[in-house]
């Protein structure tokens, strides 16, 4: 019962974070929200008894992808400023 409750709360928080990632005008907030979605997804995978997938999601989805997005965002912003 408590697991079901945690799962539902995680799912709702994930949805909110995903909506922020899509609709927020500030790019930095959107990138952080996308990473947050992945982080909650990885916790959800552990609850759904898929630790293999959770490991991948936590390291690639919320770790490396967020960093790569920030690098790319930084590069695009600098290129725009030069023009």
């Amino acid at each position: 019962m408590i697991l079901l409750l945690i799962t539902i709360v995680l799912g709702v928080v994930m949805l909110i974070a995903a909506l922020i990632a899509v609709y927020n005008k500030d790019m930095k907030t959107a990138i952080i929200a996308a990473g947050l979605t992945s982080l909650f997804a990885s916790v959800l995978y552990v609850l759904l008894a898929a630790p293999d997938v959770a490991l991948t999601e936590a390291s690639i989805g919320s770790g490396l992808t967020t960093l790569i997005f920030f690098y790319v965002y930084n590069k695009i912003r600098r290129n725009n400023a030069q023009e």
Binding site: D52, L55, L67
Partner: protein, 234 residues
């Protein structure tokens, strides 16, 4: 107005296409098809305590080779596109701000531990959850932390490519050995099977997972390194 109704039309068409699938779906209590075979005979046939590893490395080993190839292609394409912009800024200056003391100190403690965790994950891939991909990604995130805390640090591009190439070639070579010595491509019976559940068991799976871990780790590190290098301005 027209655009919105077109979107609605597409959505309705999509719903109509998917509806039969959802309508005829019923949850099953038992495994079916190949899944049943894997669950029942995986232990005797492959000898890996982690059944996911048995499926990923042995039963579906060819698909894993394809995945590794796709990741290699992605990393190569990113390197190619960033290389083009790098040549224009040959004598570029670095633009990174100095990292905070907290990040530098924390990374000094955490980077070796994260790398150790990554190595643990892929060496024990046939016993505990995780495997080559996960371990490689964890190692790459340790390198990413290192780059964040010390942006001036240079990684040898050559070393990354050498590790990646050698592990990739050895992976295919072990697969070919399977044809000669055992049942087929990527068969894991080419080495002694060992005792079920110990570190040296499941034949070639630990070796293949170590190779995949090194390959994925070096590829992802290469991607992060290329992106970091591209931050410099001319």
């Amino acid at each position: 107005m027209l655009r919105n109704s077109l979107i609605l039309l597409v959505l309705l068409g999509f719903a109509a296409a998917v509806f039969p699938l959802v309508h005829s779906y019923e949850a099953k209590d038992t495994l079916t098809g190949v899944a049943e075979h894997y669950a029942n005979y995986g232990k005797e046939e492959v000898g890996a305590a982690n059944l996911v590893s048995a499926v990923v490395v042995t039963y579906r080993g060819f698909d894993t080779l394809g995945e590794v190839t796709i990741l290699f292609l992605a990393s190569a394409v990113i390197g190619l596109f960033l290389k083009v912009s790098e040549t224009h800024t040959k004598d570029s200056r670095s633009v990174f701000f100095k990292s905070t003391e907290i990040l530098v100190t924390a990374s000094r403690l955490l980077v070796p531990m994260i790398m150790l965790l990554g190595a643990y994950i892929f060496i024990n891939g046939h016993l505990t959850p995780g495997g080559g991909f996960q371990g490689g990604a964890v190692i790459a995130s340790a390198f990413a932390l290192l780059l964040l805390s010390r942006p001036q640090k240079q990684f040898s591009h050559k070393l990354i490519s050498v590790i990646e190439s050698i592990s990739g070639i050895t992976f295919v070579f072990i697969g070919l050995l399977g044809i000669l010595l055992a049942g087929g491509f990527l068969d894991n019976h080419i080495f002694a099977m060992g005792k079920f559940g110990t570190l040296l068991s499941a034949g070639a799976i630990p070796i293949i997972y170590i190779l995949i871990g090194l390959k994925v780790g070096s590829e992802l590190t290469g991607i992060v390194r290329n992106l970091k290098e591209s931050q410099k301005v001319g």
